[in-house]
Symmetry: C2
C-alpha cells in the first residue's frame, strides 16, 4: 500500500462545487487502495479579503496578528473537503497546521518548518481516514502562536508532510498540466516533460517558471520527495519532479528554456577602484531590502571599476535611490538604469558533462542579432540578459536549437 | 487597579469602522487605569455564511468539522481589534480560545467549559497589554480539537474569563441599553433597572427576556461575577447583574414582567389512569428531542387522567406527532392542540418574603377578563399561560400593578 499527498490550491477549492470535485479525486485515490493526505488552501479570494480588512484598519499591521487572521482561510476550508468526502461515504478528518504537528520558527508571515510531529496524522491514516490538512500554516511551539509559511506555503506544507510521512508521491494540482520545455504561450511546440530532476526544476523555478516555488522544490530535493505537478481540471499525467532518474536524464543536454521579464539593470561606471566599494554598495542595497540577482564587475585600465547588476522590477526604484544617494555628484561616475531587459535561460543536468552548450546558446542568439548584455552560469544553467523586446524570439530560437527536434523530450 | 472584561457581539464588530469604535471603548477603559480583556464575536453574518458553505455540501454535517470551521469567524476577527488598538497607540495581543486556555469537554457545537488556564492572559495583562480573546470557542485538551460553546457562547466566554481572572466586572455590550422592568415595546413606561440579582436575571432570561442566555447568568451566579449589560451604541450606564445587592433588593417585591409567545399547548384528556402513563409520554417526547416546559396533571373522578403541557412553537409539530402515535384510536382519549398561547411571568426576589403576590397577579388578570389556562411558580417567579391575543394587555396590566407607580424601580 502506498501513501499519496495531494495538494489543491485556492482556485481548485474556490467554491463548494469545486470542493466536491477535489473530494472526488481524493476519494478515487483512496478507493484505488492508497493512503491519502489532502492539503488544501483557502478559497480563492478569501485571504485577500481578510488582508483587506487588516489594511482598512492600518497598513502597518502586526505580523503575528496577520498570521492569526489569514490562517483562518485555510482552517475554514478543510472541514468542507472532509464533509464532501464523508458525503461520498469515506472516513475523513480535518487538521489545522497545529493539529497536524507542523512546528515552525517564530518568523511570522514567512515561518520556516522546523519539525513535523506526524503521529496524529499517522494514527488517523492507519484507522483508514483521509486526512485533510490546512495548508500554509503551522505553529511555533515556544509561543503557542499560529504562523504562516509565506508565498507558496501550501505547496511547502504538502512536500513537508510527504517528507515526514515518507509518502510515495506528493501530487501538486495546479491550473497547468505539468512542466514544459518552454512557456507554451511563447513556443508553440513546447513539450510537456514527463520527468525532471529537482535540481533542474529548482533552476527553472528561480529563473521564472511559476509552477512551484523554489523553497518547496528545495525541500523535495533535501528529503527526496517525488513531486508530481498535474492539472486539477483534466485527468492526465503531469510532470514528475524526482531525484531518482539521473540515469535517464543524463541523455538530455538541455531540458528547458525559460525567461523572466521582471528584471531591471543598473550599471555604475567609473567608480573609484578602492577596496570595499562593492561591499559598501551591496550592503546598502541589502539594508534597503533590494535583492540583487546577477552581478558583473570589471576593472578598467584607468584605475576605475564598473559594476553592473540586476534587480526585480518591483525593487528597481528602491535600488536607484540607493545608488543615487551613494554616487550622485562623485566626479566621473556614470549611472545607467534600464528596465527593458529580460533574462533568458537554458537549464539541464546534461550540461555538466557536455561542453559547448553555452557557446551554442550565444551563437544562436547572435545569429538572430540578439545582443547579450550579461551572462551568468551555474553547473546546470546558462542565463543571458538581453533587451526585453527580444525575449520571445530568444526563447523560440533557443528552444529550436536545443529541444526543437527531440521526439522524446524529458524522457 | 481593577480588571474589566468587555464583550462585544457580532453587530458591534460587523465592519472595520465598528471595530475601531470597539477599540476606542477598550482604549478609554485602559486609559482610565483598568486592566482590560476584550472578548469579541465574529463579524455579523460571517458564521451564517460559513454554515451556508457546509450546508451546500451536506445538511448532515459532522459537528467536529462544524466547530473547526465556524470558530474561524471569531479567530479572524480578534486580530482586527488588536490592530485597531495598536493604531490607537496601545499594546495588545489576540488570543484564540486555545491560546486563552479555555478548556472544554468534547461535546462539539455545544461544549461546556471545564477549566480556564489563564496564565498566558495574566502574563500579557501584567505586561500592560489589552488581551483580545476570540469568543464562542475553546478546545478539548484530550483530543486537541477546537470546540464551540453553542448559543450565547461569546457571553459565556466573557463571564468565564471574568470568573477565572476574578474581574471586577464583566461588561456585555449589546444592542439594548440594559434590562427593563418589561419589554419597552409593550409597556411604554417600562424602566431600566440599575441593578438586578443573578437569580432574577436567570428567571427573566429563561422566561423570554433575550438579553443574556441562561447559561451565562448561571456561570455568573456560581462564580459571583458582576455582569453589566449595556449599550454598544450609547455611552450611558446599563444594568448590573450581581449577587451583592440582597439588602437593597429585598425592598422590591417584583422587579420585572416578561412574556414569551413562542409557546404551544398540548392537552390530553381521559387518558387511562394507570401507573407509568406520564413517564411513557414524557420519555417518548424526550426521545423525539421535544423539550417540555410546564406540566399539569389532574386525576378525574372517572378514573381517567388529564395531562396538559407546553412546548416551544418550533417543537410543536414534533410533539403532536408523538402524542398522535401514542393515543390515536385509544377509546375516549381527546387531544387538544393550541399554538395561540403566551406565557406571562412576574419575577422578583421579594416574592420569597411577600405573600399575596400570586393572588394580586391572578386578580389583575381576571379583572381584565384574561383567562388563566395554566400556572407555574418558583420561589422568585409566577408564570401564567394565557391566550396569545391577551399577551401585551397582560404585560401592561401586571407592570402597572406591580411596577407602575414605583419611582425607584430596581434600586
Amino acid at each position: 500500500m502506498s501513501l499519496v499527498v495531494m495538494k489543491f490550491g485556492g482556485t481548485s477549492v474556490a467554491d463548494t462545487d469545486k470542493i466536491k470535485n477535489v473530494a472526488a479525486k481524493a476519494a478515487a485515490k483512496k478507493l484505488q487502495g492508497h493512503d491519502v493526505v489532502v492539503v488544501a488552501s483557502a478559497m480563492a479570494g478569501v485571504t485577500d479579503k481578510l488582508i483587506g480588512y487588516l489594511k482598512a484598519i492600518t497598513p502597518n499591521y502586526d505580523l503575528r496578528e496577520y498570521d492569526q487572521m489569514v490562517s483562518t482561510g485555510e482552517t475554514a476550508n478543510v472541514p468542507l473537503v472532509v464533509q464532501a468526502l464523508k458525503q461520498a461515504g469515506l472516513s475523513s478528518e480535518s487538521f489545522t497546521g497545529m493539529q497536524a504537528g507542523i512546528e515552525t520558527d517564530n518568523k511570522y508571515s514567512k515561518a520556516r518548518i522546523t519539525k513535523i510531529n506526524a503521529e496524529r496524522i499517522k494514527k488517523a491514516l492507519s484507522s483508514g481516514k483521509i486526512c485533510v490538512v490546512a495548508g500554509f500554516q503551522g505553529y511555533c511551539p515556544e509561543t503557542g502562536d499560529i504562523t504562516t509559511l509565506g508565498r507558496g506555503g501550501s505547496d511547502t506544507t504538502a512536500v513537508a508532510i510527504a517528507a515526514a510521512l515518507k509518502a510515495d508521491v506528493c501530487e501538486i494540482y495546479t491550473d497547468v498540466d505539468g512542466v514544459y520545455t518552454a512557456d507554451p504561450r511563447i513556443v508553440r511546440n513546447a513539450k510537456k516533460m514527463d520527468v525532471i530532476s529537482h535540481e533542474e526544476m529548482l533552476e527553472l523555478s528561480s529563473l521564472g517558471a511559476k509552477v512551484l516555488v523554489s523553497r518547496c522544490i528545495e525541500l523535495g530535493m533535501n528529503y527526496n520527495v517525488n513531486i508530481m505537478v498535474l492539472s486539477s481540471l483534466e485527468d492526465k499525467p503531469g510532470t514528475l519532479v524526482t531525484s531518482q532518474t539521473e540515469a535517464i536524464m543524463e541523455e538530455m543536454v538541455v531540458s528547458g528554456v525559460t525567461s523572466d521579464k521582471n528584471q531591471a539593470k543598473i550599471a555604475l561606471r567609473n567608480l573609484p577602484d578602492r577596496p570595499g566599494i562593492a561591499a559598501e554598495l551591496f550592503t546598502k542595497l541589502a539594508e534597503a531590502n533590494v535583492n540583487v540577482d546577477m552581478i558583473i564587475q570589471n576593472f578598467g585600465s584607468n584605475g576605475k571599476a564598473d559594476i553592473t547588476f540586476t534587480v526585480s522590477n518591483t525593487e528597481f526604484s528602491l535600488g536607484k535611490d540607493v545608488c543615487k544617494k551613494l554616487y550622485d555628484g562623485i566626479s566621473g561616475v556614470k549611472m545607467e538604469f534600464d528596465e527593458n531587459i529580460a533574462k533568458v535561460s537554458i537549464v539541464g543536468v546534461g550540461m555538466k558533462s557536455h561542453s559547448g552548450v553555452a557557446a551554442t546558446m550565444f551563437k544562436n542568439l547572435s545569429d538572430n542579432n540578439i545582443n547579450i548584455m550579461m551572462i551568468s552560469t551555474s553547473e546546470i544553467k546558462v542565463s543571458c540578459i538581453i533587451n526585453e523586446k527580444f525575449n520571445e524570439l530568444a526563447v523560440r530560437v533557443l528552444h529550436d536549437a536545443f529541444l526543437g527536434n527531440e521526439d522524446d523530450v524529458g524522457k
